[in-house]
Amino acid sequence: MAKFEPVLFARIQKNDSQALAGYRADGGYAALKKALGMAPADVTTMVKDSALRGRGGAGFPCGLKWTFLPKDHPGPIYLAVNADESEPGTFNNRILMEEDPHQLLEGIAIACHAIKSNTAYIYLRYEYGRSYRVLDAAIKECYAAGLLGKNILGTGFNLDVHLHRGAAAYICGEETGLIESLEGKRAWPRIKPPFPAVEGLFRKPTIVNNVETLCCVTHIVYRGVEWFKSMGVPPDPNNPRDPGSYGPKLYCVSGHVNKPTCVELPMGVTARELIDEHAGGVWKGRKAKAVVPGGISMGFLSAAELDTPLDFAGPGKAGCLGLGTAAVVVVDDHTSMVEVLYNCCRFMSHESCGQCTPCREGTSWMTRILERIRTGNGKVEDLDLLMEVAGSMGIIPGTTICGLSDGAAWPVKNAIQKFRGEFEEFIRTGQKLRGPAEALMAAH
């Protein structure tokens, strides 16, 4: 295979990649000009035909989502850009926003044209200070250059983009939690229906798209559907509900690797290839014990499953929740899975919004059980209890409003299913793990 030429990341190594002048010199905003020359419905059709799936985690077909908007709505219709990138191990949106903000803004403008929206909100993760400053400057440049505001490029299209710093919680990245937070409320995900496309921000039709998704829109419009579908994985012919996994994807690789990285590759690269060829292999000459395929809420691949292709369907076939954000976190064979799982559970119980009973209490309970196990007071039966708790929460069994608790349950399910021997041995042999503070003391 010929060496893949990055598209989304084409400009990030350049000097001054954030400036409008440079972006235009590289052909920037040509896609917007092209899109504004098309009817909105045609842009939507184009995105739909490209089979672009949302890059935020759920992988919902982007064009299809746009068609859920009510027909002939008098407006306003809103676009909310989900830049609340909080999934552990995920940092691709951050690079896009910090290094090439105009690529995103162009995608926003094209999407707004397609969905007939004149207002877009970028809901930016609070902790992303540099992203805020870069985007803020880029938005100002666009207003000054007539690329945002009234009568964009002389076409009569108006668009205002508001940059909103988030409320610093994981749940703000959930589509409807984001909308609530944007309205100034506590980010408690809403019950559906109604879905945001029908009744979202300020009770108006709203499309929520991820940063990387919108960057892809820019290139689909510019380079065409064929280009986008020339890479990736076609649908499984045996699964009529599989829309395929086309296009380029930004894979984040972190954890116990020699060279943590974020790399753009066609959909469907294997975990092994990512680790060995793009991240310099597992560190210290060790082997991978477990690999998170797409943010910790997706669960774990075992060492035997490293050849799983990381497209939208691949991790699911290996028992994971899905591709998620394609954030690969490598765990080496010197690391205790008890500690890894404890860390996952601690994060999820800290971030549970507390609305639905099973998630609020279940995430915390699982953390406490693991805390007990890791301090040497576990019992083998605790593993069954963990599996039972994990199995009773989430939108998959139907016991919660949003998917956070599916994401909290999956690492538990995967870890105990795939590494049960290690857990049992840990408990039987009465091992103890040091707390973070003790570990720090021991290191000095």
Partner: protein, 560 residues
């Protein structure tokens, strides 16, 4: 009529009913357990107690069930909907949810006011697993005595149903309560210095399905299983909220709203909820007195009532005046008016005006305090329970009823030889100046519950009962006639007004309000709707004479 099935039983419903699964199950008498859902509040579907299985009937008659559990509160029931609310899958989910809810619950039922009427207790017995598998320490959260003047919060008992938060946002519009922290550390709280003291604040205690929000007034006063409840009507304004009067051994401990869509809905105001304490005032009129020349000559009902009857009967009819009170029941007004008009049709009958305080206060309100449509609850400016009912009686007996000031003017100008004054308004119904007017009347009878400016002037002082001590009917502002029932006995020597007037009239036997209503209905066309005697829990409309349909939304757990 659309049809659906719940637990394999067919239900029929009107398409306009917009039932959810909880309400649909109620139609077959099946309770779907729930905490966060309340018919008057927005649906949040967060407690996950009401999970059910649902499916649709396809045109060919096959049933396709959804693979996931869904919250019954959030899921509408339509033509062909199939609801399974007692399947093994549902029961497993209920047990799991209850186990979660009880994980951090302190299980301090022995010291908890809610024990005995607690949603957690009831559902745990019915659906729970009986023991906790939590081996780690429970969360401990600080109790919050500062939630409101009347409200205290036992934070660790809270199950985060957020009913209270939604009530202050969606009904009272005051939004004092909110959720602070996140996840399992969540707590209900108020902002510093802004306690939950709105006019409807006490309702959050009723709405709380567990013992988290407690009434300071009732705190540690009684175990609820010692309480007996009498169905009654709040007398404090003309809305006539349906309530229960909860008592033990003749002591009233609390009033609670009782759901009645025709009267007020689900709630009651704090003015009514806490405004009954005059019932326990130490200066309540407790003994009947007959006075001559300022000296009490008898304290015995058996002497007083025949003597009074004789004296009134020997007075010239057009020189007898009587002032009725809008705090009387229909029966009491009827007994007094019919007794006096039997003496003479020329007796001068008047009714005291109902006190008007401010203007009607309508809810829900928005956050600016502006009332929103449609109105769900009103605190009325008219501070009397039965102005309509007494008026209807009076109009029947008096061709031209007088006003209170007319009657007092006649008294002060010496046109009356006997004046029968009925009080009953605990906030006072006669001023000292007005009381002066009666000094010229040789025979003054005062029937009241509390001392007033006129009670020292009475030749006959007849201590009556408060609403909690009487049986009868109040007619609210809209013409809804509702029964009140005696919850406790009057103070020692006092008697319920109906009994006083029955005996005064010389009627044989005992006063029985329901029996008397049949007579009233036959006599007074405007009150014909009372013909059944017993009016049911929700009362009857005077105008239509129909018994209102019982509330479809009412469930055991809906309004704890």
């Amino acid at each position: 009529m659309p049809k659906a099935t719940v637990n394999n039983q067919v239900i029929e419903f009107d398409a306009s009913e917009q039932l959810n699964c909880i309400q649909a199950a109620k139609k077959i008498g099946f309770e779907v357990p729930h905490y966060c859902w309340h018919p008057e509040l927005s649906v949040v579907a967060s407690c996950r107690m009401c999970l059910v299985e649902v499916g649709d009937t396809k045109p060919d008659g096959t049933v396709v069930m959804q693979p996931k559990l869904v919250p019954g509160c959030q899921t509408p029931v339509k033509e062909g909907t199939v609801v399974l609310a007692d399947s093994p899958k549902v029961k497993a989910a209920q047990a799991a949810t209850l186990e979660y809810l009880l994980l951090n619950h302190p299980l301090d039922c022995p010291t908890c006011d809610q024990a005995g009427e607690c949603g957690l207790q009831d559902y745990s017995y019915k659906y729970g697993r009986g023991y906790s598998r939590l081996q780690e320490p429970k969360n401990q959260k600080p109790d919050k005595d500062h939630i409101g003047e009347q409200i205290t919060l036992f934070t660790d008992r809270c199950i985060m149903c957020t009913r209270c938060v939604r009530f202050t946002r969606e009904i009272s519009g005051t939004a004092e309560l909110f959720v602070t922290h996140r996840g399992t550390k969540e707590e209900i709280d108020v902002f510093p210095g802004e306690p939950c003291d709105n006019k409807l604040a006490g309702n959050v205690v009723d709405l709380c399905p567990v013992g988290a929000l407690c009434s300071k007034d009732f705190l540690y006063e009684q175990r609820v299983w010692w309480l007996n409840s009498a169905k009654s009507v709040c007398p404090n304004c003309s809305t006539g909220c349906s309530i229960t009067v909860d008592q033990n051994e003749d002591v009233v401990y609390r009033l609670k709203p009782r759901e009645n869509p025709q009267a007020q809905g689900h709630f009651m105001c704090d003015e009514g909820r806490f405004g009954w304490k005059y019932q326990q005032r130490e200066d309540r009129l407790a003994y009947p007195e007959q006075r001559e020349a300022g000296r009490v000559v008898s304290y015995g009902w058996d002497d007083i009532l025949p003597a009074l009857r004789k004296q009134l009967q020997s007075t010239k009819g057009d020189r007898i005046g009587a002032l009725l009170s809008p705090w009387m029941t229909v029966e009491e007004a009827y007994l007094l008016a019919s007794f006096l008009t039997e003496i003479s049709e020329h007796v001068r009958l008047a009714v005291a005006p109902a006190a008007i305080v401010g203007s009607d206060d309508r809810y829900p309100k928005d956050f600016r305090g502006q009332p929103l449509e449609p109105t769900k609850f009103t605190i009325r400016a008219e501070k009397a329970p039965n102005a309509r009912g007494v008026d209807a009686v009076l109009k029947h007996f008096a061709k031209s009823p007088l006003t209170m000031s007319d009657l007092l003017a006649q008294a002060s100008s010496g046109k009356l030889d006997a004046l029968y004054l009925v009080g009953g308004d605990p906030n006072g119904w006669i001023t000292a100046q007005q009381a002066d007017a009666v000094k010229k009347v040789p025979l003054v009878v005062v029937q009241d519950i509390l001392p007033s400016a006129v009670s020292p002037l009475a030749q006959y002082l007849l201590p009556g009962g408060t609403f909690a001590e009487r049986d009868g009917v109040f007619v609210n502002h809209a013409g809804l006639a509702q029964e009140i029932h005696r919850a406790v006995r009057c103070p020692e020597g006092a008697r319920p007004d109906g009994r006083i007037l029955w005996d005064l009239s010389g009627r044989p036997g005992l006063f029985n309000a329901a029996q008397l209503r049949k007579e009233i209905a036959a006599q007074i066309p405007a009150l014909a709707a009372l013909h059944a005697g017993k009016l049911g829990d929700c009362g009857v409309w005077l105008s239509e004479g129909k018994t209102p349909s019982p509330p479809v939304t009412h469930l055991a757990g809906a309004n704890r």
